[in-house]
Symmetry: C2
Subunit: 216 residues, 2 copies
């Protein structure tokens, strides 16, 4: 199981708690945008950094260029964000079996939504079950049609099922609030559900469903 | 033009700046969940409050009950959130021409996404052009197919176009980064665009598009 961590440019106040001591997190790092400088400040050198770093001071930029061996810039004509390129590097070049994405939430909502919808792209869809996004209150995972049993995170209370594309026959089987044969043409967030025990089962026939575990 | 303001339960740190002095905001207020108590603390009594207020202390709850003349609770069997009920009250009972929704972002992402996707529901779709959601860095508005010219907000720099449902023939006409005849089957956030002048034009043929103006 090869884990790669991706740090995007979202605000530090929304970071997942484990980023207080990122040296205790296993796996390589790929960074996008402001994430690069912030990770260096934490004492970790990313394997690959994506960005032009034009929001940094000249001194900071020089430090990034001296410390990071592999720096990439998005090709302007590709309509791609730094985070999208960082994710494709994690999956294709570093062959990650698991990509934990930090700094993808908070602040500008156009950025957050670009990150949330990233797994829906054709090029990432085959890998979407390898992705998770974590912040101070939420963990987001993504599912293609199938039958699943997922595990409760001990520090999270709430559970949400969020069809992001037209979805058919969604069943929440043993959650606190069950749902049967639910179809939707538009995205919807079934929020504030809860696990009853340590795991919960759900299934659906077509579509893509995000699952969020969260805490107040 | 009848404006109604809706305050949902999202974290205060993400509130739009005008909520520092909400008495200067015109229009009636409808509140959901924790928004009720917070608005009372700001010296405003909402016309209608939705919630069971079980997160308040008994003393706080009593104060809500004494001050607010019209308190409603969601019917458990309706699978509705406090914010959804508050929005339908604003539109149907108070006949709002404009609903400005505060406290809809930040914190738990299942709540934010439930709010973001609310205008896609059949019952709200006829009114979606009346809604806007505001927080400390973002303003979100919603559009049905058509041809639009929108105005730049002076305190915002970035502009994003976000098809939330399958969308055809999206054209960004005079924005910094144009887009021509774009079709998508899945939600996507075209982030980090900008106005060139004081207004920007766009159009599309089918789908629902959210537009976000934001600032770093």
């Amino acid at each position: 199981m090869k884990r790669v961590n991706l740090l995007a440019g979202g605000p530090i106040e929304q970071w997942a708690p484990e980023l207080q001591k990122p040296t205790q997190i296993t796996g390589q790092w790929v960074t996008a945008d402001r994430g690069t400088w912030r990770l260096l400040q934490k004492g970790i050198v990313p394997t690959v950094a994506v960005g032009d770093f034009d929001s940094l001071t000249p001194a900071e930029r020089q430090q990034v260029q001296e410390q990071v061996g592999d720096i990439r810039a998005v090709q302007a004509e590709k309509d791609e964000t730094d985070t999208q390129l960082a994710l494709s590097i994690a999956l294709e070049e570093l062959a990650a079996d698991q990509v934990v994405i930090y700094g993808a939430t908070g602040g500008r909502l156009d950025h957050f939504l670009a990150n949330l919808f990233m797994p829906l792209e054709e090029r990432f869809k085959p890998f979407l079950n390898r992705l998770e996004m974590r912040d101070s209150q939420n963990t987001i995972r993504f599912y293609l049609p199938g039958d699943y049993q997922i595990a409760k995170e001990v520090d999270k209370k709430y559970l949400a099922f969020i069809p992001l594309t037209p979805t058919t026959d969604l069943n929440l089987i043993d959650e606190k609030y069950p749902l049967h044969h639910f179809d939707t043409e538009v995205p919807i967030s079934w929020a504030s559900n809860e696990f009853i025990g340590a795991t919960g089962r759900f299934n659906f026939k077509t579509g893509i469903v995000a699952v969020i575990q969260s805490t107040d």
